[in-house]
């Protein structure tokens, strides 16, 4: 039971993070490598606020989102003028920069040691130490977020960014302010990434830089690719599928030192298969209008 609760919480957190990535990658076609950095910023801001400043969970969440938004803006301005492969490289460089700051700014982030003892959120003087209580808390938060995202995915703004994905000039000729539309989605992506990061920090009550590395980015990318980029339900389904699937690896009698790398190979295999057999057919595009 405890195990199942844990799985559900992880699925909910990942669904939020993956949908955030889906906003920019799936709808907008920009491979934003800095996404995992936003998750890290969310987690660290929430963790620092609640350990060093004894801040309430809602203040932690709110500040985490705010900081992620503020950081996302300069990243957006720096990278949007790059296109295609250059954008990937640019965002990757900025992502590395942020993780370097996290590892080396020891006074604040405690470097590679990580931050321990993050208190669980306290709602009406009930501390959510029980995982089932925490699951309910996450469920409510994620449900609201996913509902907003569901609306966003069929809103005029999603159509605008999808129209600009292939050919910017056609979209401009229709009176669409492409720069602003992308900025909106970039910021919203950072909002959901940092929200996921903050919830992650509150849940595990311990974070260190190794939770926000390239492998996690690849995992989020795999979710988006499996779920057909730009599809809301596809992304949700893929999160469920890909979080549960490797859990079966646990039942194979192998030493833990082998299991970790095996998971990575497993994901690489899935990603390869999906990209090999046309990903659009794996889960077809949903009709939005």
């Amino acid at each position: 039971m405890e195990y199942l609760t844990h799985l559900l919480i992880i699925i909910l957190i990942y669904s939020l993070s993956a949908q955030g990535f889906n906003l920019v990658f799936g709808l907008g076609g920009l491979f934003n490598f800095a996404h995992i950095a936003f998750v890290a910023i969310g987690a660290y801001v929430a963790a620092i606020l609640s350990t060093n400043f004894d801040a309430q969970w809602y203040i932690g969440l709110f500040t985490a989102i705010l900081v992620a938004c503020l950081v996302s803006l300069p990243i957006y301005f720096l990278t949007f003028r790059l296109n295609g492969d250059h954008f990937v490289l640019g965002s990757f460089a900025l992502s590395s920069l942020i993780s370097m700051v996290i590892v080396n700014w020891r006074e604040v982030t405690k470097g590679a040691l990580g931050i321990a003892g993050i208190p669980r959120p306290r709602i009406f003087s009930i501390e959510l130490n029980n995982n089932i209580q925490f699951l309910l808390f996450v469920f409510v938060l994620v449900l609201f977020s996913l509902f907003f995202l569901w609306c966003l995915f069929r809103s005029p703004f999603a159509r605008k960014i999808r129209s600009a994905k292939r050919e910017i000039s056609y979209s401009l000729a229709l009176g669409n302010n492409v720069f602003l539309t992308y900025a909106l989605f970039f910021i919203l992506s950072a909002v959901f990434a940092s929200l996921a990061g903050a919830i992650f920090a509150y849940y595990l009550s311990y974070i260190d830089p190794s939770s926000f590395v390239l492998a996690d980015m690849i995992f989020i990318l795999t979710i988006c690719a499996v779920g057909s980029p730009g599809s809301f339900w596809g992304c949700l389904g893929a999160t469920l599928f890909l979080v549960i699937l490797p859990e079966f690896l646990r039942f194979i009698p192998l030493p833990p030192g082998v299991l970790g790398p095996l998971r990575q190979i497993f994901f690489a295999g899935i990603l390869f298969i999906i990209l090999y057999f046309r990903r659009a057919k794996f889960l077809p595009y949903e009709r939005i209008v």
Binding site: S155, L174, G175, V289
Partner: protein, 254 residues
Amino acid sequence: MQIDQKGSSRGDNKITLEVERLTLTIQGLKILDNISFKICRGKTVGIIGPNGSGKTSLFNLLSGFYTQDTGIIKLYGEEISNLPPYVRARRGLGRTFQNFGIFRDMTLLENIILSLESRKGAWRSFFPWSKAHKENRKEAMVILGGVNLENKADELAANLSGGQQRLLELARIMALQSQVLLLDEPTAGVAPKLREALGEQISLLKERDRTILIIEHDLEFIENFCDQAIVLNNGVIQAIASPTELRETNQLKW
């Protein structure tokens, strides 16, 4: 040189589009040199010239995708020379593209709804259950019906034939209700039967007093639809006259 009332029963003499001494150089190559003309409301003007004479560059300048070296572009007397393309589009300058400016991975309905949302503002129809969204859907179906594509509303635009893609592009620009239209080779790669349908749509736009500029290689088409024609050659305006006049005086040699 002014393209005005002469030879047409429609329209008043209100100048919608005015271009003054427009010059464009790309990488040291002079594409357009000292282009000036004025176009009155309700006029249809053909732009003809050999390949590489600067026709599409002129359109790109007018719609804001290129920036001119010198010169002024005015829409309804207001200068728009330095505005970005999307602002010009919102001010009523619509354009189509030579290589099918439709969104291929969206459905036909979405293609039209995009225009409607661009014209009416996106916030009003944010929620899928909002009234504005349902109205947009209905209106888009009516517009698609106007070009006989309503039974393909839920198909991807990429699945359409070349002619139908042109029709869709025209329908989209109608949904945008642009007052000045720049049509870049609307009949290129279109079979004769659909060409008629395209012609009908253009006549419909003329009836609604839209100012239309058409780039076209088909002189017959120009003669049928245009009041005046601008002959561009090597980036210079060679002549402005009615298409019939041009044919009779044999000025179209290249």
